[in-house]
């Protein structure tokens, strides 16, 4: 007998989905903002002349890039409190881990962008007496920004979806709500389909908008 779809039971819980979606947004935006700041710091750390600084930045990057986000979440929520003797709330552990994780990836994206700018640009900027800081902020970074935009958006889309993992430490974002609604209705197919659609409906326009922005920024090419 073919499966009979019935969304009515699931959709009764629209307020849970709405709340979940809102939290997913909040964690995404929050961790992107913190991640970008961290990523910039790490990127400049990696580019530093001082070996100790670049080494530390490198170590951080590798730790967070080479372990799964799911394991990091568990570690910060369950393991770290044992180590430091302080309970960490799940929402703190979630935001912290997502941000640290995002920072490690953003830093590599930024670094690649900065290194991709031709040396002649730096020389020309220095030749009109710019300081190193002016060279970086007025000449290198604006060009690098344009170049890294696609990878940046891509990583941010991944970040949006990665927030689903914080459901394992019981943060009530969108994926968590799917499980909750399923528990109430025994309708997993409908519950997870609704959530999948919600992710898609949010992200698809974003990737389209990103393409448009990228296209617009090509005027100088």
């Amino acid at each position: 007998m073919p499966y009979k779809w019935d969304f009515s039971a699931v959709l009764q819980y629209w307020d849970l989905f709405a709340w979940g979606l809102w939290l997913t947004f909040a964690y995404t935006v929050g961790s992107i903002i913190i991640g970008v700041v961290l990523g910039l710091l790490l990127c400049f750390g990696r580019l530093s002349r001082f070996r100790v600084i670049s080494g530390l930045a490198r170590a951080y990057q590798e730790v967070f890039r080479c372990t799964p986000l799911l394991v990091q979440l568990m570690w910060f929520y369950y393991a770290l409190p044992l180590l430091i003797g302080v309970t960490i709330e799940n929402y703190v552990a979630a935001m912290l881990t997502l941000s640290l994780y995002a920072g490690s990836f953003y830093s590599e994206i930024f670094r690649g962008g900065i290194l991709s700018i031709d040396k002649g640009q730096t020389e020309a900027a220095k030749a009109i007496a710019m300081s190193d800081r002016q060279v970086m902020w007025r000449i290198v970074i604006p060009q690098a920004f344009k170049r890294v935009l696609p990878s940046f958006i891509n990583q941010s889309v991944i970040q949006f979806k990665n927030t689903s993992l914080i459901s394992v430490i019981s943060v009530g974002e969108l994926a968590y709500m799917a499980a909750v609604v399923n528990g109430q209705t025994y309708r997993p197919l409908e519950a997870f389909t609704v959530v999948a659609l919600l992710y898609f409906v949010v992200l698809f326009p974003m990737t389209q908008a990103a393409d448009y922005v990228e296209h617009r920024m090509r005027v100088s090419d």
Partner: protein, 258 residues
């Protein structure tokens, strides 16, 4: 000449015992040179002889390994800020501009923004004043209609003329030109050389690394032949290019039919 009384004989740039090595490779091996106000010095020589390295040392884009450079009698130090009586590369570069072989225009800025960037961001001059000056310069290099274009929409010759305008917008005392026509298609070389001729005529002090022998002979007050990291011959264009003494220089020049 616009020299102050008493300083007329003092060179703008003096170079003494300049050396530059990359690891064991000694590219510049002891160069002494004076650049006087209003003078056009052409620097010629075979590839790899150290011409570009030498001219890039003059605004500290390359850090000399040894020796001294002085700007108007003030010793140039390898740091950004000036300190005491010495001059740092930040201040030096306000007075000593440079034009590159590969233009190095800022691709994310329009022609106008490229030219105004230095005076506005570095010299902190008022925008209206700078833009008026930029228009004048664009007129001088014949690119008034390109003010709002982006560099990638220009030909090589146009790019290089914009690059010259960008350097001039800083109102430098000295202009360093590093093989500025070498990357151009042959038919575009003339328009750039014409602009440089105009500058020479206006009394701009310039050091020009070039492979255009006829141009060098024509526009330069003095010519330096660099070979193996030293100045092998130095003199008027007549003596160096038209009557070369050493065999090396004769052999070098014979390849140009100059």
């Amino acid at each position: 000449m616009t020299d102050q009384p008493g300083t007329a004989a003092e060179p703008i740039l003096t170079v003494r015992g300049l050396e530059k090595s990359y690891n064991k490779l000694r590219v510049i091996q002891g160069v002494d040179l004076d650049l006087h106000r209003g003078e056009v010095l052409a620097i010629i020589g075979p590839s790899g002889s150290g011409k570009s390295t030498l001219i890039r040392c003059l605004n500290l884009l390359e850090t000399p390994t040894a020796g001294e450079i002085a700007y108007k009698g003030r010793r140039v130090e390898n740091r950004f800020q000036s300190r005491g009586g010495n001059i740092g590369c930040g201040e030096l570069r306000r007075h000593v501009g440079m034009v590159f072989q590969h233009f190095n225009l800022f691709p994310h800025k329009t022609v106008m923004q490229n030219i105004c960037e230095g005076p506005i961001a570095v010299l902190k001059e008022p925008r209206e004043e700078v833009e008026a000056r930029a228009m004048e310069l664009l007129g001088k290099v014949g690119l008034l209609d390109k003010r709002d274009a982006y560099p990638n929409h220009l030909s090589g010759g146009q790019k290089q003329r914009v690059a010259i305008a960008r350097a001039l917008a800083m109102r430098p005392d000295v202009l360093l030109l590093d093989e500025v026509t070498s990357a151009l298609d042959p038919e575009l070389v003339g328009e750039v050389l014409q602009v440089i001729r105009l500058l020479a005529h206006d009394g701009m002090t310039m050091a020009i690394v070039t492979h255009e022998m006829a141009f060098a002979a024509d526009v330069a007050d003095r010519v330096a032949f660099i070979d193996g990291g030293v100045i092998a011959e130095l003199g008027t264009a007549d003596s160096v290019i038209r009557n070369p003494k050493s065999e090396r220089l004769q052999a070098f020049l014979s390849r140009f039919n100059a």
